[in-house]
């Protein structure tokens, strides 16, 4: 069976294909960490670790914030995206229901005015 995933999900899987990047996510699941701390943990140069962080950041798996000279990394806004996607589906459900309801309401109104017409005759 062929399965299609949205482009951003493909990017997320590509980001996760690297053991260092998976390690960074595991580390950030425990606590936020600065770029320097992560470089230390994974025994990499700052430039090297920054490249990995950039890949994770692009997919929304990690977000970073700079305060003064320290850039802190934490698990990303993916949950918010998930919530937005759910709310959009929920809205689509109600919108589809209300479109059908419109048709019934119209029909009821027509019946009502026909009946009112008959009563007047």
């Amino acid at each position: 069976m062929v399965q299609y995933y949205p482009a951003h999900l493909d990017a997320a899987f590509a980001a996760l294909s690297d053991p260092t990047r998976r390690g960074i996510l595991e580390r950030l699941a425990l606590a936020d960490a600065s770029v320097t701390e992560l470089a230390g943990t994974f025994q990499m140069t700052l430039t090297g670790i920054k490249k990995h962080i950039a890949v994770l950041e692009q997919t929304g798996l990690v977000s970073t914030e700079k305060a003064g000279r320290v850039r802190t990394c934490k698990l990303g806004p993916r949950r918010l995206e998930e919530e937005a996607a759910w709310i959009d589906r929920y809205r689509q459900l109600w919108h589809a229901r209300f479109d059908e309801l419109d048709r019934i309401v119209e029909e009821l109104q027509r019946t009502e005015s026909v009946n009112a017409g008959k009563r007047r005759q």
């Binding site: 589906r89 459900l93 479109d99 059908e100």
Partner: protein, 161 residues
């Protein structure tokens, strides 16, 4: 042209849906309270869900039980609860008891110049309950898998190990 439907997560445990109908409130109320009419619009064709059965005793203290089927469900799914309040042409309040932490849903109808503003308000017992509903991917009508499900599984395995 149909009127827009808006949805807002109003607070940590509330969702609010709004929509205007080009008809008086008594007509909209009728379509919400007669089972024969409910079954014609509650399961939109575009969502692939169909009613297996639709029982609703729409009055204060009455109960409802909707059973749906969907190509993705192995078994039909039942949605049920009680009407806490039914006030003709203006207000319907019901519970959603198919799950442990279901919301209480309130629909209000407000008529103005022959048009009706419908506000549907879902109040969950806690922030966690609404977060869980969102995380489950179910919108209460379709069991279609969330696009994030697979990724969650993968992440969940690592992060919890």
């Amino acid at each position: 042209m149909t009127n827009p439907t808006t949805v807002e997560r109003k607070s940590e445990r509330e969702l609010v849906v709004t929509r205007t109908f080009q008809a008086p409130a008594r007509i909209v109320f009728e379509a919400w309270t007669k089972p024969d009419l409910i079954r014609r619009w509650w399961t939109p064709k575009s969502f692939g869900i169909t009613f297996v059965s639709c029982e609703a005793d729409v009055r204060t203290g009455g109960t409802y039980r909707f059973v749906f089927s969907h190509p993705d469900f192995e078994q039909p799914m039942a949605f049920f609860g009680r009407y806490l309040e039914v006030t003709p042409h203006s207000r319907i309040v019901w519970t959603n008891e198919e799950g442990a932490d279901g919301p209480v849903t309130t629909v209000t109808l407000e008529e103005k110049d022959g048009r009706t503003l419908l506000v549907l308000h879902e109040l969950y017992p806690s922030k966690q309950a609404l977060d869980d509903a969102i995380a489950s991917g179910s919108t209460g009508a379709s069991g279609a898998p969330e696009q994030f499900e697979l990724l969650d599984e993968v992440l969940g395995t690592w992060l919890s190990s």
